[in-house]
């Protein structure tokens, strides 16, 4: 079986995972925390850095998530737990999916296109999901430079228009704003949990855990820099600027002569995002595969089925994004700390399987 090398993992943590947080999270944070948007994001990244460190410590054992669960709870319970976790991954995939759909409709079209234009994404997602998780490492090798070029390009075009003084005075939103911001941002911070299905597929070497945490923190710093620039460009009106990374660079003076070249950088990030958004669904398929073994047809059949379901869900909830986001931020936000913080930390208590002992 192909394993993911530490370098590929670091690329994912530093360059690919942060991209998902550049679309709607910035404006959502401004709605709740105003100019203090950096604090909830900082806490989110700090907590997830710890979680990533813990999950990578588990990776040192070289065992799969399923094996560890089976060793601790028995085979039947392990299957149930894996299915619950797979359901969570599918749930976690839903918001980024809708977010991506809205982003595509806004950034790729002048007028609002039919929802069917987003349908090919599910074809891609089904194809990706049918691939084993271990084969993703090579893709991350390719996507990391794409992500860096896209992000660097947007930042280069944006920093000149940013007034970082707009972030002051710090703490103006108060503790309430901070907590609301934290709850709103919770649904974007599931990276640690996303790594659990990768256990047993990582080629762990000495220092991978802390280096991985450092890579994730580096990605976090880049996102914080972007958030600061975003608020620096738009200040109070930032709350009305969804799809942040397609907007921050639009005041670059060269655009009148060159056209929206910033879109090329956005498209580079969109390419990276297509892989990132489909990843939780792929991880979900992998969890089911781990639970029930891997007959040949299962990954392909399941990925087609799940993506078909998600497509119809996206079709049905086409105009309900605001309500869905409110439900995620106000009612269901607790699910994320449970599955993305508590569960990975509790996994540290899992027993080693007999085989590895």
């Amino acid at each position: 079986m192909k394993k993911i090398s530490p370098r590929q993992l670091f690329f994912f943590l530093a360059c690919i995972a942060p991209v998902g947080k550049l679309v709607l999270m910035p404006s959502r944070l401004v709605v709740e925390a105003k100019n203090d948007l950096l604090f909830p994001a900082l806490v989110g990244f700090a907590v997830q850095t710890g979680v990533v460190f813990c999950v990578l410590l588990l990776a040192k054992r070289g065992e799969s998530f399923a094996d560890m669960l089976a060793a601790t709870f028995g085979k039947i319970a392990a299957k149930v737990l894996l299915c619950v976790f797979a359901a969570f991954l599918l749930f976690a995939a839903f918001l980024p999916l809708l977010e991506q759909k809205l982003f595509v409709q806004s950034a790729f079209y002048d007028t609002l296109p039919s929802v069917v234009t987003f349908a090919p994404f599910f074809l891609f997602s089904a194809y990706l999901c049918a691939k084993p998780l271990g084969s993703l490492g090579r893709i991350w090798d390719i996507l990391a430079p794409v992500s860096i070029v896209g992000f660097a390009g947007i930042m280069l075009l944006s920093v000149g228009s940013a007034d970082y003084g707009a972030l002051l005075p710090a703490g103006a939103a108060g503790a309430g704003g901070f907590w609301r911001g934290l709850a709103a941002a919770a649904s974007w911070f599931f990276d640690g949990a996303l790594l659990l299905p990768f256990l047993g597929k990582i080629d762990y070497r000495r220092g991978t855990a802390w280096k991985g945490a450092l890579a994730y923190a580096a990605g976090g710093v880049a996102v914080l820099f972007f958030l600061a620039t975003f608020y620096g460009v738009f200040a109070e009106i930032a709350l009305n600027q969804p799809f942040a990374f397609t907007k921050t660079s639009k005041y670059f003076s060269g655009i009148t002569v060159l056209g929206r070249i910033d879109y090329l950088f956005s498209y580079a990030l969109a390419l990276v995002m297509a892989f990132f958004v489909a990843l939780p669904v792929q991880a979900c398929v992998d969890c089911v595969k781990q639970a029930f073994g891997a007959p040949k047809y299962l990954p392909a059949a399941l990925s087609v089925l799940l993506n078909l379901g998600l497509f119809f869900l996206a079709l049905g909830l086409d105009y309900r994004f605001v309500e869905i986001m409110q439900v995620f931020a106000q009612t269901l936000f607790w699910i994320f700390p449970v599955f993305c913080v508590a569960v990975p930390l509790l996994c540290l208590l899992l027993r080693r399987s007999h085989a590895s002992q």
Partner: protein
């Protein structure tokens, strides 16, 4: 299986039954004591050599009737004896005359086949301004000699295989013992042995059998027409195949990056090689994506154009009756037809074709308002750009069409998704154990030194890690 009986008349009849074709001739002559008969394939046997090296020495023969004794009298350097009539018939078909006589228990095969070969010339592809100009020709022996001349080492193995039930085509499997991976060599030989086809007219037939995904759009076997490139690839640890009748040699494992490297890159300073390799990549990306982006921008995202350019485009497409995607498809189709026709048609009509293509179709179509000037410019640039990487032309031209169709229906997001599909497909594809996208995916630090960037030779002491050669060091 029948053997030679010693009864000349009966043996000749038996041989004729196996070879009833009219161009298989029998020439009878007698020495002072023995009646001989020589069976040969008229068009492919050198009759002058046959007379000099076989007939003349035997005219005064008076010795024993045993094959070994007769064989000693012949002056041909390639002589062997054979008992089976079937094998003798095969030799006749290969151009080697067979000698039979009364009382013989074996036939003699003399190597006097007529070899029709063209001179070694510079190939039409893989042209290099600096560096060797020799190209492979259609004869496997000449081609292997070109390889042997460059790799004068006992480690060079050239194993001949005969493939094709009817064509009996010689295929030379070339590799360096101790440098190529044994498993790759065995896999190649196994795949070749498993081929059960009647005729192999060209090396391209073998690519189908060597591919692990025969229906894939993308290339899975490397090709070259130049012995220097072929030898360099073998020296890196690859396995090479030379097919009789084909000037195009094959190499495996194939990596995509190979097609961005040209022979000349190794004869010019590294900074120049790096620049040209990046230029090739840029040209290819622009060639594949530019028509698609132009259509997608016109249909779905006009903001991608700078304002002044947008005004120019708006002015030029104002009276065009076709939609942007149809217009671009039409121009692309015309380009492909012109391209196909210019390759197939006789050379002396080439000038007329240029005039028709450039003036009648281009100029007149624009002035008649069928297509716009920007569309012609974009397709022209795309057409040229594609030829920056000529070895990938079959794949990239199809890809350009796919991109265009997707761009016309889904827009820029469609282009992004096709790219994602392509990346995923390429990144997970392997070829004889080597990842096709190496050294980029997986990223192999040292191998990157001779990928899109090119370091000088002193910085390339090791063979590519991707090829897993057991003998990694090449520079000591």
């Amino acid at each position: 299986m029948k053997n030679v009986t010693g009864n000349l008349q009966r043996d000749l009849e038996a041989l004729k039954r196996i070879l009833p074709a009219e161009d298989i001739l029998t020439f009878s002559f007698a020495s002072e004591e023995i009646d001989f008969a020589c069976v040969f394939a008229d068009p492919i046997t050198d009759k002058e050599l046959l007379g000099e090296q076989v007939v003349r020495p035997l005219l005064r023969y008076t010795g024993e009737r045993k094959a070994e004794a007769v064989k000693k009298k012949l002056t041909s350097p390639e002589v062997k004896t054979e008992r089976s009539l079937q094998t003798l018939a095969e030799e006749v078909l290969a151009g080697n005359p067979v000698l039979l006589w009364e009382g013989a228990d074996e036939g003699i095969v003399a190597g006097t086949k007529k070899v029709f070969i063209r001179a070694i010339a510079e190939p039409s592809m893989d042209v290099a301004v600096k560096g060797p100009r020799e190209g492979f020709i259609e004869d496997v022996k000449v081609n292997t000699s070109l390889v042997r001349r460059r790799l004068k080492t006992p480690e060079l193995r050239i194993e001949m295989m005969k493939l094709g039930r009817r064509s009996d085509t010689f295929v030379a499997v070339c590799y360096l013992e101790g440098t190529s991976v044994k498993k790759t060599v065995e896999d190649v030989k196994k795949k070749l042995s498993a081929i059960d086809i009647d005729v192999i007219p060209d090396s391209s037939y073998l690519t189908h059998f060597l591919s692990s995904r025969p229906f894939s759009l993308l290339k899975q076997v490397g090709t070259t027409e130049k012995p220097d490139i072929f030898c360099a690839k073998i020296a890196e640890g690859r396995v090479g195949l030379i097919v009789d009748g084909s000037p195009i040699a094959l190499t495996v494992p194939y990596l995509l990056v190979e097609d961005f490297q040209s022979a000349e890159d190794y004869f010019v300073p590294p900074y120049r090689a790096t620049f040209t390799r990046l230029l090739r990549l840029f040209a290819l990306i622009v060639a594949v994506y530019l028509p698609a982006f132009y259509v997608a921008a016109q249909l779905f995202k006009l903001q991608l154009f700078p304002v002044r350019l947008l005004l120019t485009i708006a002015g030029s497409i104002r009276d065009i009756p076709l939609s942007p995607s149809l217009e671009m498809l039409l121009v692309l189709l015309v380009l492909e037809v012109l391209n196909e026709a210019s390759i197939r048609m006789p050379k002396y009509v080439g000038m007329a074709l240029s005039v028709v293509g450039a003036l009648v179709l281009g100029e007149t179509a624009v002035s008649a308002g069928f297509v716009s000037t920007p569309a012609i410019i974009i397709i022209a640039f795309s057409g040229i750009g594609l030829y920056a990487v000529p070895n990938l032309i079959e794949q990239t031209s199809v890809l350009r069409l796919v991109m265009l169709l997707v761009a016309g229906s889904v827009g820029t997001y469609g282009i992004i998704l096709v790219t994602a599909f392509l990346l995923l497909y390429l990144a997970t594809a392997e070829n004889f154990g080597a990842p096709v996208l190496a050294p980029f995916a997986p990223m192999l630090g040292r191998d990157l030194r001779d990928s899109l960037v090119k370091y000088n030779l002193g910085s390339l002491p090791m063979r590519p890690k991707t090829l897993k050669s057991p003998n990694r060091r090449r520079l000591k």
